[in-house]
């Protein structure tokens, strides 16, 4: 008996090393990032986040162009992906025949499994020419009065990157929204119908407002993914650290500047500044995750409260 207890104790201790290692790794990532960015943190302080000059030659580093590029591309991507993703999810759950819906859902999951470097390759050779030859001339011609659609048309740039990001996050939005919409109890839709609502009214007013917290959670997670996306963006955004209002102009994101310049960062301050950018990305990822988790928690919390009632 005591032999059992001892062997159990040893097994338990050994096994406990694994989750503890996982914790150490997370803490280690954070520690390494902070430690390695200390020189840059010391030299530039908080100004690092709002200085718009990124000049490795003069050892002058400000991350604003990257923060700007990341925000713009992610937001435009969300603007494109949310309506299409949620719309497609509604169609799959509410309108499409079950078999069709199942097949399409599998295909959407397929889209989600494509590696981002392949998206980038496709972006360079298909999306960018399409943007240059079709989309951007069209936008320039009819919406050129907006500062968003002015300036030289290279094809590469923030708009192409945004479209690319939208394609990358849309499967994610679809699959979460699909679950959320399918989880709304049928009787709520019946209630709307019983008041004389049309199908679309029942869906848009009732089903979506039931699912909005869950969908918002999905959107925030998708935002996290867009912010952290590296390859596809790096390959088509143009990699130019400037802040331009026009979506046609090249830009740069936090993730892509690391990808592009890390290997060639040849002096400590340069490296330290890039690692500080990684630190920013890491912190944003954590915040986004906590936000999404709180939202999802609030939804499931409300549901279990209802179940108790």
């Amino acid at each position: 008996m005591s032999r059992h207890d001892t062997s159990d104790l040893i097994f338990r201790r050994v096994l406990a090393a694994f989750p503890i290692t996982v914790l150490i790794i997370v803490a280690g990532i954070f520690f390494e990032l902070v430690y390695s960015s200390l020189p840059s943190l010391h030299k530039f302080g908080i100004g690092f986040l709002y200085h718009s000059i990124w000049n490795p030659v003069e050892e002058n580093f400000g991350a604003l162009p990257f923060i700007y590029g990341t925000c713009v591309t992610s937001l435009v991507a969300l603007l494109l992906a949310i309506p299409i993703g949620v719309g497609a999810a509604i169609y799959l759950v509410e309108y499409a025949p079950v078999k069709v819906s199942r097949v399409i859902s599998t295909l959407v999951d397929l889209l989600a499994a494509i590696p981002s470097v392949i998206y980038g390759l496709w972006g360079i050779f298909v999306l960018v020419p399409f943007m240059r030859n079709v989309v951007q001339p069209f936008l320039g011609k009819y919406f050129g009065f907006l500062p968003l659609f002015q300036g030289p048309n290279y094809g590469i740039g923030m708009l192409a990157a945004s479209v690319m990001l939208a394609i990358i996050i849309v499967p994610f939005i679809i699959s979460v929204s699909r679950e959320v919409i399918a989880a709304v109890p049928f009787v709520y839709k019946e209630s709307a119908y019983a008041l004389g609502a049309t199908r679309w009214e029942a869906l848009s007013n009732i089903v979506l407002s039931y699912g909005k917290a869950g969908i918002l959670g999905a959107v925030i997670l998708a935002l996290g993914r867009a912010i952290g996306e590296v390859m596809a963006v790096t390959m088509i955004i143009g990699n130019d650290p400037k802040i331009a209002l026009s979506l046609f102009s090249p830009g740069y994101t936090l993730a892509s500047v690391i990808a592009n310049e890390f290997a060639e960062a040849d002096f400590p301050m340069y490296l330290s500044a890039l690692i500080e950018i990684a630190l920013v990305l890491f912190l944003v990822a954590i915040i986004v995750n906590i936000l999404a988790r709180l939202l999802i928690w609030s939804v499931t919390g409300a549901q279990s409260a209802e179940a108790v009632k």
Partner: protein, 292 residues
Amino acid sequence: MKDLVLKSFDATRLRREIWDKVMVVVLFLCAACVLFILFIILWHLIARGLSSLNPAFFTHLPKAVGESGGGMANAIIGTFVLLLLAVGVGVPLGLGAGVYLSEYAHQRFAQTVRFMTDVLNGVPSIVFGIFSYTVCVLPMKSFSAVSGGFALGLMMIPMITRTSEQFVKMVPHQLREAGLALGLPKWRVITGIILPSAIGGIMTGIMVALARVAGETAPLLFTAFGNLHYTQSLMQPIAAIPLQIFNYAVSPYSDWHRQAWAGALVLIVIVFIINIWAQYFVYSRKRWSAGK
């Protein structure tokens, strides 16, 4: 009041009906648009990939700039080496953590670990590359296969932890009790009874995680780094298909672009095969339990 309701109802009925019909079309177009993009991407991958693919692609090394031909044999091998290394890092850590969480952990500790793995899951892939760079590449003073595998392995941890915890928890309680009733110590019950019955689900989790990291490029940029030749030692830089695709795609040479498309096709096939394989474990497990 009744009149007002009837009047308003009739006045708006047609508009509401049209709106209802229009939205069906709009929603359909949303779904169609996503499918269309998927097909376009797959079409380009297959058409351009197939036309660039030849036996030499699998057996030859990359040629120097200007020479046509050559292949990605080194990158294909490199990707498998990196995945093996990643499995070596990710599977024990993920599986160990998952089993511990399910079988032993206190609520507080389990919550913390779960939260941390969720954080890890949301960390941008490039950050893993930097972490591996600072803890592997800098001390070893060289880009290496090991550092690349380490970065990919870390990325696998969250998913493996989650799925193994989940599947170990799903093992029926009677199985545990039966084992304990035989007088087996708990660790023997876990390794001898619980893990074998949860293995299908755990394998699926591992395969899905593997499929996800197989296509990763960003964490390899400054760890595995890439290599135009076969790698002799795990302490040397190593090629990987995604890295090679990236380098070729951004190059100005059309022959390299062709290689990139061929590489993309091979990569996507590998990723899909691993994903389908992953499903097989779940299904075979279902069959097994259905047969019981």
